[in-house]
């Protein structure tokens, strides 16, 4: 038992964590850059043709069009010079020009970032609303009906590809009930179904995390102490239960972000949501490497950013983490 006499150096803990995230961000950028560079060089087939197909539609791809593209983009330059160039531009945050639309990648991403952020934040919010609540209820009575039902549902959700889950939701809420738009982005409420699709996938897991945390909290000494102190079950849960359940749930959110970022790619495509994930899929179709790089980079950085937020939230909920006490 170590005694720490000074007040919580929570801020210092957070600062270290954020510095670590910054390093992570830089590394992600370099990694994405290198991978994309090798992808340009390694993808089978002629890059110029691929780009031309993306630009003019596949009926219009001709050798002449491809030659024009080759000249325009300098695709025939030597490797090493190209790599050096690549790195330099990346570090200056110059992401280049989309090979399909001939617009700067930055401009495209600016356009797509906001919808994606909106979607993922809402998804995260919904998943936190649904998952942990059900998890806490299930955890109050381990082995009870709700516990079993949520377990079964979470297994089903984890075995279901997200495009299938999205489809089911659309069939129910748009086709059958007619209360929500099936896709698109400018109708009222059109964000709900894609967000729900992502949220359910995440809630399937966070529900179980919350359930286990609740079981643990219910068995903890401080929860028992709260009760013997004279708090009612309800008071003890609200004052001591939920916050302690929240700590692992929020911490787990950091892990779930992987799911979120990958889920965004599929869900945006199936719901025609004009975000980064959708753009990544199209860039992959068109083998538009600058765009692949840009979108992958943004998705990666988004992951890092959300993780930093999760770190901070954790530090505030559980002061031990802020002080760097819990591993």
């Amino acid at each position: 038992m170590t005694t720490i006499s000074s007040r919580a150096p929570a801020w210092r803990g957070i600062a270290t964590a954020l510095a670590q995230r910054l390093l992570q961000a830089v590394l992600v950028a370099l990694l994405v850059g290198t991978l994309c560079f090798f992808m340009t060089r390694m993808l089978p087939g002629d890059m110029a043709y691929r780009i031309a197909a993306g630009r003019y539609g596949y009926d219009m791809v001709t050798s002449a069009a491809a030659e024009a593209v080759r000249l325009e983009l300098g695709l025939d330059r030597p490797w090493l010079a190209a790599l050096g160039d690549w790195w330099q531009r990346l570090l200056q945050l110059d992401l280049g020009v989309s090979q399909v639309t001939a617009e700067p990648v930055m401009v495209e991403i600016e356009r797509q970032l906001w919808p994606t952020l909106r979607l993922s934040v809402l998804a995260m919010f919904l998943s936190l609303l649904v998952g942990p609540l059900l998890g806490v209820l299930a955890g109050l009575k381990p082995g009870g009906l709700l516990d079993r039902v949520t377990l079964a549902v979470s297994v089903v959700l984890r075995a279901l590809p997200s495009f299938l889950l999205g489809l089911v939701l659309v069939l129910v809420f748009s086709v059958k009930l007619g209360i929500l738009p099936a896709a698109g982005h400018d109708d009222h409420g059109s964000i709900v179904l894609p967000a729900l699709t992502l949220a359910l996938g995440m809630a399937a897991v966070s529900c179980r995390v919350a359930r286990d945390a609740m079981v643990q909290v219910r068995g903890s000494a401080y929860f028992a102490f709260a009760l013997t102190k004279g708090l009612s079950m309800r008071q003890a849960l609200l004052r001591h239960g939920l916050r302690n359940v929240a700590a692992p749930v929020i911490a787990y959110l950091g892990v779930q972000l992987v799911y979120l970022v990958e889920g965004v790619v599929l869900v945006e495509t199936i719901f025609a949501w004009p975000g980064i994930g959708h753009a990544l899929v199209h860039a992959i179709f068109g083998r538009d490497v600058p765009m692949i790089q840009g979108t992958a980079l943004v998705l990666g950085l988004m992951f890092v950013l959300f993780n930093a937020l999760v770190d901070t939230a954790c530090a505030f909920i559980d002061p031990r983490r802020g002080a760097g006490h819990a591993a």
């Binding site: 720490i4 007040r7 919580a8 401080y222 102490f225 013997t228 102190k229 004279g230 004052r239 302690n244």
Partner: protein, 469 residues
């Protein structure tokens, strides 16, 4: 008109199926009185406390009657007693460190009881909490989280949180477990002041010193039954029951002093510690410590808690590096010549490996003779069948003896014993020390001892290294 007793227990029994874990318990605590339950772990004293609280695991059943402040309820009707929690009866749990919400500041945890249980307005609850914290010298801790507190502070905070709603009866579970002499004094003072405010106390402990100091009435528990009950002073002075006598004899205060081992004054030390210092973060733990330990010597490391006693021992063992100074082992000692006995024997064995396997690995590694180990275990009075269990399936005392046997098997030159018995009952503790003494003498092995118990140091150690400043 007679005042009702604070607590009256009649024919209380706790059953697991048909097996009675606690039986035939009847006693009474007058208003403002003190009642101490003395016994070792497994004697059922904690179960008894839980039964009175109405807090037994659902697999256990309870019979008899419990009256709190005159309100008599069947002991089996546990939930009816829940309403009195905090208001009419309170519980000060053992390990107060774990009992405080790790995510909540100290003041809020104390104020909470005022506000929620005693229904004070929020601002007044905060004010009362501040006042209560100040009364126990905890003003500085008000805005700290539990993990920043020392064990003693946490205990006082837990006491305040328990006490805030003014329950007239308090059950106190092992309040001095693992505390050193100074801290035990603080606890005693705390309990005495509570009593002075008119509270009735039911104190569960294996600490004879505390029982004696608290006074009042006392009962000794063994195997779920009360074997002796009476005024504390009388029972402790003239125990009638054989077990009580043994229990009292096991108190380190009554141990005979160990004879000083024969150490040649010119013998070369097995380890030479020169001017070592160590810091933890920015805080210096100790510095400039010298120690020369010779074969067969028994040296105690003393100092207040947090002064780095364990760290010092680990530096001697070579497990940790000092920030300054040097540690030199005598030449020619095997790498395994320095061994350690841990505070928690349960944590000293690979948790998912059977004990026999762990020991077999050791015997194989050093090409030892299993027969030697068998003999050692026999001398430790350990049944060989125990080895087929997992560590957590063996009692603490037995496990500590197995740990001792494992260490002795290595024929060590020095053993660092870090609070080797602080988690054991007095009788078991005495046992372990007796075995330790016997083997140290035979093997001419040195002992570096860390213990919070000043009595043990007095009886056992030849000299001490003081880390405290």
């Amino acid at each position: 008109m007679m005042t009702n007793p604070a607590l009256a227990v009649e024919d209380l029994a706790v059953l697991h199926g048909e097996q009675a874990l606690v039986r035939d318990i009847s006693f009474e605590i007058p208003a403002g009185g003190v009642f101490t339950l003395l016994g070792e772990s497994g004697s059922g004293k904690s179960l008894l406390a839980q039964a009175i609280m109405g807090n037994l695991p659902s697999t256990l059943r309870c019979e008899g009657r419990v009256a709190i402040g005159g309100e008599k309820t069947p002991a089996g009707d546990q939930s009816s007693r829940h309403r009195g929690w905090g208001r009419r009866l309170a519980l000060l749990p053992q390990e107060p460190w774990l009992a405080l919400d790790p995510t909540m500041m100290v003041r809020a945890q104390v104020a909470e009881t005022y506000a929620v249980v005693a229904n004070e307005p929020r601002s007044r609850a905060r004010m009362l909490a501040d006042r209560a914290l100040a009364s126990l010298g905890l003003s500085d801790a008000a805005h700290k989280y539990p993990f920043m507190l020392s064990g003693g502070m946490a205990q006082r905070v837990a006491f305040l949180a328990t006490h805030a709603a003014g329950a007239p009866l308090m059950i106190i579970d092992e309040p001095t477990k693992g505390l050193d002499a100074d801290r035990r004094g603080e606890v005693l003072e705390l309990l005495r002041s509570a009593q002075a405010q008119g509270m009735s106390l039911l104190c569960i402990t294996h600490d004879i010193w505390l029982a004696r100091a608290l006074g009042g009435r006392l009962a000794v528990m063994l195997e779920g039954a009360m074997i002796e009950q009476g005024e504390a002073a009388e029972v402790l002075a003239a125990p009638r029951h054989d077990y009580t006598r043994r229990l009292l004899a096991a108190d380190p205060g009554s141990w005979p002093a160990w004879p000083a081992p024969a150490v040649a004054p010119d013998a070369h030390p097995i380890v030479q510690v020169d001017q070592v210092g160590k810091s933890y973060g920015r805080q210096a733990l100790f510095s400039g410590i010298d120690a020369h330990i010779k074969a067969g010597e028994i040296v105690a490391v003393s100092g207040p808690s947090g002064s780095g006693k364990t760290t010092f021992g680990n530096i001697v063992l070579g497990l940790a590096r000092p920030d300054s100074g040097s540690v030199q082992r005598a030449a020619g000692l095997a790498l395994t010549a320095f061994q350690k006995i841990q505070q928690d024997p349960g944590a000293a064995f690979a948790p998912r490996i059977r004990l026999r396997q762990s020991l077999l690995d050791l015997v194989k590694l050093h090409r030892l003779d299993w027969g030697v180990l068998d003999a050692l275990l026999a001398r430790m009075r350990l049944a060989p069948a125990l080895l087929d269990r997992l560590p957590h399936q063996v009692s603490g005392g037995e496990l500590q003896r197995i740990a001792l046997a494992r260490v002795l098997l290595m024929k060590p030159a020095l053993i660092f014993a870090d609070e080797p018995t602080s988690r054991l009952d007095p009788v078991t503790q005495q046992d372990v020390f007796a075995l330790l003494q016997e083997h140290l003498r035979d093997a001419r092995c040195a002992l570096l001892l860390v213990t919070h118990d000043a009595d043990i140091v007095d009886r056992v150690a030849g000299r001490r290294i003081d880390l405290g400043r």
